[in-house]
Amino acid sequence: MTSSTTEIEQLIGKEYDKGFVTNLEADTFLPGLNEEVITALSVKKNEPPFMLEWRLKAYRHWLTMTPPEWAFVSVDPIDYQEISYYSAPKQKKELKSLDEVDPELLDTYKKLGIPLEEQERLAGVAVDAVFDSVSVATTFKGKLKEVGVIFCPISEAIQEYPELVKQYLGTVVPQEDNFYAALNSAVFTDGSFVYIPKGVRCPMELSTYFRINASNTGQFERTLIIADESSHVSYLEGCTAPMRDENQLHAAVVELVALDNAQIKYSTVQNWYPGDKNGKGGIYNFVTKRADCRGVNSKVSWTQVETGSAITWKYPSCVLTGDNAVGEFYSVALTNNYQQADTGTKMIHVGKNTRSTIISKGISAGKAQNSYRGLVKVLKSAENARNYTQCDSLLVGDQCGAHTFPYVEVKQPSANVEHEATTSKISEDQLFFCQQRGLSAEDAVSLIVNGFCKEVFKELPMEFAVEAQALLGISLEGSSVG
């Protein structure tokens, strides 16, 4: 029995193949954090004065805060003075088009399976590629502009559309929201900005690709997406990092705003370097993602497939402010070896008839710990609010763990909140059955894991479904056939 358990573990324990380092001349700040560093950063980015003030306010608040300790993960204390807060590949001048991007960089993205030039030629997905602290290329800008969609690095938006940024930045995740959000607000370097005007259905999927390359660099990106009345957008986010022995910090903030009748679909495939088999190295992924369904009938869906990072601490949430607003959370989190994941969601029901759905699938293998932490809060004002939560855990081997922490707070008697949870194991009988039908053990594990994740995978946009499949080493045809 143990023999086949280890077999399953080996199958799932694929080597990280995105761990190469790109050698580029970089413009990097010395490690350390203080008001001068923040000022220098703001200057470097040509920011208007309001932005610097905003950052300093966040920094001063951060100094009074301590990191959260309640998550079911153990973290070595991080020395924030040892991190460099800015690193950018050196570029001679401003870029006018992709042709001017350093070929070495384009090559990096190609190796990652994201050929930027082709992405530009092939219709379908507009990509914003963030390399360490700066955005290096945004494709399809022109075509989007025709319909009035703004999709650009947030650093550019701060300069070009300061009024929009001022109006929305920090309105979903306030600077003082939590320790990592405050740090991000003080030092964020880049990220994507999206504005979809009234009544516009964004003609293509928008996508950001994050890559941590430089060592000892933190990546603090900030994403702000605004869907104006009756608009639609689907946004994809992917991430990788080189293999390094030391831990690297990634503390992002993502804010989504959906106005009346607007819909945002936000999908993530996260594959940060998880550390080696012995738990050395890997990315610390501490992310605050929140959506405000501000308008009536607005809707936000978070879909995520997470296989990377040494430690993940992440709760994409929805505040359902508008009447009839809908929030959805579909998640697959796979942890292996010594990875630790503490993820989940928060659904805050404020408006009448608001609805939320949570489908969480956790897969743990090796010695990994996987926790789901979910909060469903129904305020007094949220008449007839409804929530359905389903948390399923799949264990591979017997040294890993799965934990579920549901929190429910209901202040409105007409609300209806349902929670279901299951834990299962890949059984030897299932594995043998598949092999008896001609499948290799590896394909059998993929098939079973794929089946387990099906409800989430079917929510992913087609382009991303393929990547998710590659990530879990899973053939995805299964869910499309069914």
Binding site: S427, F432, Q436, G451, F452, E455, G478
Partner: protein, 248 residues
């Protein structure tokens, strides 16, 4: 086709199969009967290559190839099929996807290309009709929520798609109602051919009324204690297993 010589198998330290010899020629149908716990499923598992069994003596061969050295998926691709006594459920994996994956595994092994999507659909629909199953079963998760009889029928559907040459049916008749038994038997009979052999494990004569075997073996306490023609099954039905030991 299948040749088993003096096969001895342990689970841990416990001896389960104590020297079984059996030869099945191409086109033959053999039945194995025997009391609960006599080792029938163990034999089927060992033939299919399941983990957890130790072969302590003897040999198993399919068409002259040593089975014991072959990975279970290789045996399946070579044409050895086991219809399980207790089919497992695979949540979230559609039946049709499993069928396609299974067929493609066999085809690739034979050096053929993957099956064309349209051809596959035509084939599946034809077979599912043959087994009197609703097409809805194709899109449900493998065996999930299936009744006992539906699971058994589903095993035979997989067999019909994979077209194996050596079919082992472990109590496929248990759990089938009378109509289903006839339909499944008709399905199996339609697969009978000069080049395909069957080993059917069963407790009941009634299956053998529909699928008439060439040879019947009685397995008791890990040994084949009697071998005969179809009439042996009838005799067992009437007298039980007790008399065999006395005779020997």
């Amino acid at each position: 086709m299948l040749s088993i010589k003096d096969l001895q198998v342990n689970i841990g330290d416990k001896s389960i199969l104590k020297g079984i010899s059996l030869d099945i020629n191409p086109g033959e149908v053999h039945a194995i009967m025997g009391p609960n716990g006599s080792g029938k499923s163990t034999l089927s598992h060992v033939l299919a290559g399941k983990d957890g069994y130790t072969i302590t003596g003897g040999s198993i061969e399919i068409e002259g190839q040593d089975l014991a050295e072959m990975a279970p998926e290789k045996r399946a691709r070579e044409g050895l099929f086991l219809a399980f006594q207790y089919p497992v459920e695979i949540p979230g994996v559609s039946n049709i996807y499993l069928l396609k994956a299974a067929l493609n595994a066999v085809r690739l092994h034979k050096g053929l290309s993957e099956v064309d999507a349209l051809d596959f659909l035509t084939l599946v629909k034809e077979k599912i009709k043959l087994l009197g199953m609703d097409e809805k079963f194709l899109y449900r998760s493998v065996n999930q929520g299936f009744s006992g009889g539906e699971k058994k029928r589903n095993e035979i559907l997989q067999m019909a798609i994979m077209e194996p040459k050596m079919c082992i049916l472990d109590e496929t008749d248990s759990g089938l109602d009378i109509d289903a038994l006839q339909i499944v038997a008709a399905g199996v009979n339609s697969l009978r051919s000069e080049s395909r052999s069957f080993l059917m494990i069963t407790h009941y004569q009634r299956l053998l009324d529909y699928i008439v075997p060439d040879v019947v073996h009685v397995l008791s306490d890990g040994q084949i204690v009697k071998t005969g023609g179809p009439e042996l099954a009838l005799e067992l039905e009437q007298k039980g297993y007790g008399w065999i030991g006395q005779e020997a």
